[in-house]
Amino acid sequence: MTKVNVHVTLRESVVDPQGIATKEALQTMGYNEVENVRIGKLIELELTGSASEIDARVKEMCDKLLVNKVIEDYRYEIGEVAGK
């Protein structure tokens, strides 16, 4: 089994109201060192299949379903074989 972590983030020029509100809350709580917060998604996939294919297949899944490219960017890491 292979584990893939897909990091989905909002494109830079898209406003992130969640991030802004979270930043403000952190600042109110005294964390004034926080300059910026952006909130994205972390999609963890567990896949069977040959390691050689995984890269292309995951890219396809991202493009077709997991990521909305109008507003989001993504990157992923193909991880270790999950040990169980």
Binding site: R11, S13, V14, V15, D16, P17, I20, A21, E24, N68, K69, V70, I71
Partner: protein, 742 residues
């Protein structure tokens, strides 16, 4: 693009760069003439945005002038953020409908959400507290995966914005037809209430008064949204994705509360939201309306991104921003007011007497253009109009009845058509009861909210059967208005005014422009006849996919007054034993009907005839009967005709059925979409009084205790089904379609 790389005036001419911004050569020449010199890049941007169809109505103005806009109750007609109508007791209702079609075709969730957000700002910038949302939606028939995605996401987007800001959605409509495949229509309507003394306008007057910018920061999002929404969208070539302007309902809620507090202050001169064409349109329009000028220093504009140019700032369509004019010397108290809601507000300029929109950036004057030239003196086109060939053909066609072999199966299939099926899948996602004023939530003919502190209510609805409009724009326009009024009447309300959203294909096509003109004529006539002037609205042209226009869809949003909440009436049956009446007889009206589309896969022929005199009389009589308290339930007949309306009445919570008898051709009696008809239940003891009040009422049967719907014809039983079976088919149909593959 940074200022350094911005093309200069000569390059703009040589390379005809204005064309990329949507301006024609003639329009550019006109701008040059008005300016008396060649515009720089920023100025060209100002002209192109303000002279886009979306902001200037340059193609539609001559047609819109025909709408009746006056009436005893009208306090503010078209021209401001929203229209205002008096409802007595020193209160007024404020409403407006807006399209967000292009953004919704690209990113449906955000597109639909910001549509709701924008129209809410239109309403609260008039000084009114928004009390309800309504929407009108059009999608392909859900057999295509992209259409299912667009539909699901657009609904979720509207829900997200409305629910988060805490304003109930109480009514709406949706039609599914493949003419909208990949080009959905998303129209949002907001309704607000205010006291007369709180009415605000978007004006910038009084030399030396300050211009305050309040709300979200300005980013590079939505640049040229106004021009984009006036053009056909070709979906997604990678790398060319526009930057969507995402919405922030949380910020809007704070902004709304701050603005509603501000309208009570005498420091306020004028207020307008930054909608299409953002800072440009709000500044130019506020100056032009007041007959003053505005000077702004763009260095002071709160910016989200680094290195923004004047051009980018002026054309950004970042959401949740307002432009406010306050009395000189009173700036700090206004800034403090906003800051108490954690909203950023800053002085960005002042009112001048020279009628110019002057922009400074980094110590230089970067634009200096007459505000009137931008806001008032846009070109106006008398577009070519031509009757399309199909129209003559359809008018000449012989009227026929669709071929049906199994009436029961046909009824069931009709109930599963997404346009007719239960819309629960949609409205269950909306908080329909927020603010505790919703008397009728979605599911009946119109939504009704109470006007707190009074015994009155406001009813609202959105309607447009675009198939009829396509077959016969003038008739279809009349029907749209009449149907909206019927939905209000059936809920116990007197219609008082109309907002509209005119969704059409490209106005450069003479056939489309003809549809536009003709439907506007129909709308005007019906509004006059039914006493409901047009007080606000919106035009959305260029709704096309691959050069094919969508059906002409002039959506009508209508608001009515329920004079006493005890008049509120709903669709569903109330008691077994009640007498059932149909108002008006069926005739051979299948052109554009749901049955025709279903059986033939397309529409053709003549749209149903509508006689507005008959319509007005029936509406008046039915409302009188309702107000006298002798009507238990009422609904109008629309898609699917009598049989479908009868089922919908039985699908209420009470578990009642019906037994009725009809005469004439079974298919016509059951499914014809003849206009100006209603289905009403009345207590037996009130039958006589009802017949006296409503001239064209025909007794057809009774409400029964049973789980059955029985319709008898001249020659025996036509339909004999269980409510349970039919209800299940109707209720689950949309979910079923969404689960399908392909």
């Amino acid at each position: 693009m940074s200022a350094m790389h911005e093309p200069n005036a000569q390059q703009i001419i040589d390379e005809k760069l204005y064309r990329q911004m949507g301006m024609t050569d003639e329009e550019f020449d006109r701008a040059v003439n008005m300016l008396g010199r060649h515009p720089n890049y920023t100025e060209t941007g100002l002209f192109s945005a303000m002279w886009s169809e979306h902001c200037s109505y340059k193609s539609s103005k001559p047609v819109l002038r025909k709408f009746p806009t006056e009436g005893a109750r009208v306090l503010q007609g078209p021209g401001e953020g929203a229209g205002i109508v008096d409802i007595g007791d020193n209160q007024a209702v404020v409403f407006k409908m807006e399209s967000h079609n292009s953004p919704s075709a690209i990113e449906p969730f955000i597109g639909a959400a910001t549509g709701a957000g924008g129209v809410l700002r239109d309403v609260f910038s008039m000084g009114a507290r928004p009390v309800a949302l309504v929407n009108s939606l059009r999608f392909g028939d859900l057999t295509d995966a992209r259409d299912r995605y667009l539909f699901e996401e657009a609904v979720a987007g509207i829900a997200s914005y409305g629910n988060t800001i805490g304003i109930p959605t109480v009514a709406g409509e949706v039609q599914f037809d493949n003419c909208y495949s990949k080009r959905p229509l998303v129209n949002a309507m907001a309704v607000g209430l205010l006291n007369h003394e709180d009415i605000q306008k978007g004006i910038a007057s009084g030399v030396g008064n300050s211009i305050i910018y309040a709300g979200a920061t300005t980013g590079r999002d939505g640049i040229h949204g106004a021009t984009m929404s006036s053009a056909e969208v070709s979906v997604e070539k990678e790398g060319e994705l526009p930057v969507m302007q995402a919405g922030d309902p949380f910020l809007e809620k704070l902004l709304m509360e701050a603005c509603l507090e501000l309208v009570k202050s005498d420091a306020l001169i004028g207020i307008q939201d930054m909608g299409a064409a953002g800072l440009t349109s709000s500044a130019a329009e506020m100056a032009s309306k007041a007959g003053y000028g505005v000077e702004m220093n763009l260095n002071l504009v709160p910016q989200r991104e680094e290195g923004m140019t004047a051009y980018e700032m002026m054309l950004s369509e970042s959401q949740e921003r307002m432009l406010i004019v306050v009395k000189k010397g009173r700036e700090q108290e206004v800034i403090d007011l906003f800051s108490s809601y954690t909203i950023n507000a800053v002085v960005v300029g002042r009112v001048t007497d020279d009628k110019m929109l002057r922009l400074l950036h980094k110590g230089e004057v970067v634009a200096e253009v007459s505000a009137d030239a931008l806001a008032e003196d846009s070109p106006v086109y008398d577009k070519k109009s031509e009757e399309p060939a199909y129209f003559k053909e359809f008018q000449a066609a012989e009227m026929t009845e669709p071929v049906v072999d199994d009436l029961h199966a046909t009824l069931k299939e009709l109930l599963q058509r997404p346009t007719i099926a239960s819309k629960e899948w949609i409205y269950n996602q909306f908080d329909t009861q927020a603010r505790s004023n919703t008397v009728i939530a979605p599911g009946s003919s119109a939504g009704v909210i109470r006007v707190s502190g009074t015994t009155k209510g406001l009813a609202m609805t959105a309607d447009c059967n675009s198939r009829f409009v396509y077959l016969d724009p003038e008739t279809g326009g009349k029907i749209a208005v009449a149907e909206a009024a019927r939905n209000l009447i059936c809920s116990g309300a007197e219609p008082i005014a109309v907002t509209d959203c005119l969704n059409f294909g490209s106005a450069d096509k003479p056939e489309v422009f003809w549809q536009f003109e003709k439907s506007a004529e129909g709308i005007s006539e019906a509004c006059l006849k039914l006493n409901a002037p047009v007080i606000s609205g919106n035009v959305s042209l260029s709704n096309e996919v691959d050069g094919v226009p969508v059906y002409p869809t002039p959506t009508i949003g209508m608001v009515g007054i329920v004079h006493d909440l005890s008049h509120v009436t709903t669709t569903e049956f109330k008691n077994a034993g009640d007498v059932l009446y149909v108002i008006g007889e069926a005739s051979l009206d299948f052109g554009g009907s749901e049955l025709q589309q279903m059986t033939e896969g397309k529409i053709s022929g003549r749209a149903p005839v509508i006689d507005l005199d008959v319509e007005a009389v029936r509406q008046k009589e039915l409302l009188t009967a309702i107000q006298t308290g002798i009507v238990q339930s009422a609904t109008d007949l629309s898609e699917g005709g009598l049989a479908v309306a009868l089922c919908e009445k039985a699908f209420g919570a009470k578990g009642l059925g019906a037994g009725v008898t009809v005469s004439g051709s079974p298919v016509t009696a059951l499914f014809s979409e003849t206009q100006s008809r209603f289905l009403v239940s009345v207590k037996e003891g009130d039958a006589e009084a009802f017949e006296k009040t409503v001239t064209d009422a025909i007794k057809i049967g009774v409400v029964t205790e049973s789980d059955s719907i029985v319709i008898n014809g001249d020659e025996g039983t036509l339909i004999d089904g269980t409510v349970t079976e039919l209800h299940a088919a109707w209720k689950g149909a949309i979910q079923c379609l969404l689960n399908s593959e392909g």
